[in-house]
């Protein structure tokens, strides 16, 4: 009885999200699309944080996904949105599978900054190969098509929103299953005690590698979704400040649940859009101060407030 009732809030939330395009203004819808897409990259950061792996270079895979699709448009003439997303996913997986071979041997500061360095290399490559990537001017993403469904300009935004919603929900569900699986728990186990993991006969490297690739793939999809929504991609996608933003949102949301990155991401996008206008000079300072407050007073992130409310009110 109680089990079946538990689904009702989810059902209502789902319905509300699906029907949002008919209610919300174009700007809010766009913001939600971007926030939802970015939440996927943040989810990857959270996944790695579960294994105590902090990365300051996750934007690398975000940009890899976006640029794989962008180059697909430019050189392969691809316009099918699903093909582009597939391409980005494969790019995120592929690049993380390659670099993962090197970085999974590292922990702590090495891991954090090696990722940072690699993301800066990609940033440099995107600038360097100007004739291919458009350099800092970036690449355009014309409006995509989706197989048999033709897209009119007017409904494009709503469709991209729905696409992000469904694809995002699917990936979040898959990640949720992953977290509940033995392999997902191994990441937690690595966080606590790598030695014991090895002495259970489980490969620490394989588990970290797997987590790293999943995080890379998620970021790749995030990149292409943001690219499709914005309509234009630039090397800034790979810049360290983008990685820093992902980390910030991950900590803001908390690592306790797969929902936390979504909450953190939406909160962040709205606050940024207003705070940036109020005072561009103190924007980073605001972020830094918020991060300090979270570290000292809310180590579980905003999501822990949800847990707190639940334990207080619940039976």
């Amino acid at each position: 009885m109680g089990g079946s009732l538990r689904f009702i809030p989810f059902l209502l939330l789902g319905l509300a999200l699906i029907t949002a395009p008919f209610v919300l203004s174009g700007w809010v819808l766009f913001l939600l699309t971007v926030a939802g897409a970015k939440a996927l990259a943040v989810l990857g950061v959270v996944l790695l944080l579960r294994a105590k792996l902090l990365t300051f270079g996750h934007a690398l895979y975000y940009a890899a996904g976006a640029y794989a699709a962008g180059l697909g448009v430019k050189y392969l003439g691809l316009h099918n949105g699903f093909a582009l997303i597939g391409l980005a996913f494969v790019a995120g997986l592929g690049v993380s599978a390659l670099l993962g071979l090197l970085v999974i041997r590292y922990r702590g500061v090495y891991f954090a900054l090696l990722n940072l360095a690699f993301s800066m290399v990609l940033y440099g490559i995107l600038l360097k190969f100007y004739s291919v990537t458009g350099g800092t001017d970036g690449l355009a993403f014309p409006a995509p098509t989706f197989g048999l469904i033709g897209l009119s300009e007017a409904s494009l935004r709503a469709q991209l929103y729905e696409l992000t919603l469904f694809l995002g929900s699917l990936l979040f569900y898959l990640t949720y299953r992953f977290f509940a699986s033995p392999a997902g728990y191994v990441l937690f186990a690595i966080r606590d005690n790598e030695v014991r993991v090895a002495y259970m006969g489980i490969s620490v490297n394989a588990a970290v590698y797997l987590g790293y690739i999943i995080a890379g793939g998620l970021a790749g999809v995030a990149g292409v979704l943001v690219g499709l929504s914005v309509g234009h991609i630039t090397p800034d996608l790979a810049f360290w400040s983008q990685s820093g933003e992902f980390v910030f949102v991950a900590i803001l949301g908390g690592v306790g649940s797969v929902f936390a990155p979504v909450v953190g991401s939406i909160l962040f996008e709205f606050v940024r859009n207003y705070a940036f206008e109020l005072s561009p000079y103190t924007w980073q300072m605001t972020l830094g101060a918020a991060l300090l407050l979270i570290i000292f007073f809310l180590p579980g992130g905003v999501w822990s407030l949800v847990g707190l409310a639940r334990t207080r009110s619940g039976p």
């Binding site: 940072l116 360095a117 600038l127 980390v247 980073q284 300072m285 830094g288 101060a289």
Partner: protein, 298 residues
């Protein structure tokens, strides 16, 4: 042959700069085992304050040689103001927490300092090049070099020697070594560990600011210089081995020469040299050239 000389000279000058900006980062890490992501911002603060003092000083028009003293002063002021503040108020509270929390904390401080710098000095480039232009120049390999970068080579060598001497030949060095080896044991030996930490962090902050102050006369200062410096100095000390001063020195020379050679022979690779070297080193020696692998006791 003459070209080789020029490559060497440029490489050494760049290496000196690299060492000056990365020594503080590796020193702090060596003692506290905390990688200070605000290192680049302390560098920027040192640079800005150094430039400001220079501009002020130039207005009153006194001795040129004393400018170096001013730059040192700027570094000390920044270090003394920021170092104990960051260590005592913030860092101290997270030593017992996970490494990634410590990184996040210094990241937060870095974000704050970035804007503090902007609020104080604005966004227009700050230019103060008195020592760079007024120390005169010398002809080497058929082209003209200002003295200043070579002065930095001297300062870098001096600093490396000084740090080596302090670590190996003084009581302070022994205290540091004891604290690095084992916090608890050194506390039972009567060493006031928190004080050593504050001291070491402040020293690292002074070194960071000194790197910036000494650079100020060569660069024009704009927002964002700190972030670049952090990434570069991390690459240098990762090559040398985190926590090793000697490693930072060797890493600087390797990167400096490689980068200079790249500009001459493969200009398109300029940007990537440092990362290429870092990747190669880490592939074959994950702990860096002079780093040591730590084995956890079980």
């Amino acid at each position: 042959m003459r070209l080789l000389l020029v490559v060497l000279l440029d490489g050494l000058a760049y290496a000196a700069w690299l060492f000056l900006v990365s020594a503080g980062l590796t020193f702090t890490y060596g003692v506290l085992r905390v990688l200070n992501l605000a290192h680049g911002n302390l560098y920027a603060l040192g640079a800005y304050l150094g430039a400001t003092l220079l501009l002020h000083y130039a207005a009153s028009g006194s001795e040129v040689a004393a400018t170096l003293g001013l730059l040192l002063l700027a570094a000390v002021i920044i270090g003394i103001l920021a170092g104990p503040l960051i260590e005592r108020v913030f860092l101290r509270r997270v030593y017992s927490r996970d490494e990634e929390v410590q990184l996040l904390l210094t990241f937060a401080i870095s974000l704050i300092l970035e804007d503090v710098t902007k609020l104080i000095w604005g966004v227009t480039p700050v230019v103060a090049d008195m020592p760079y232009t007024s120390f005169g120049s010398v002809r080497l390999g058929g082209i003209s070099y200002p003295w200043y970068p070579f002065l930095l080579v001297g300062v870098a060598l001096g600093l490396a020697g000084f740090l080596w001497f302090v670590v190996t030949h003084t009581r302070l060095g022994k205290v540091l070594a004891a604290v690095i080896a084992d916090r608890e044991v050194s506390a039972t030996l009567g060493i006031h560990v928190p004080r050593v930490y504050t001291f070491a962090f402040t020293a690292g902050a002074i070194l960071a600011a000194l790197g910036g102050a000494l650079t100020a006369p060569m660069f024009s200062l704009v927002p964002g210089i700190g972030a670049d410096v952090l990434v570069i100095s991390f690459a240098v000390i990762a090559i040398g081995g985190l926590g090793s001063i000697g490693g930072a020195a060797v890493g600087s020379v390797v990167v400096g020469l490689a980068r200079s050679a790249a500009v001459y022979f493969f200009p398109e690779l300029d940007l990537f040299t440092i990362y290429l070297i870092m990747t190669l080193v880490l592939l074959f020696r994950p702990q860096g050239l002079f780093g040591e692998i730590e084995i956890r006791r079980i």
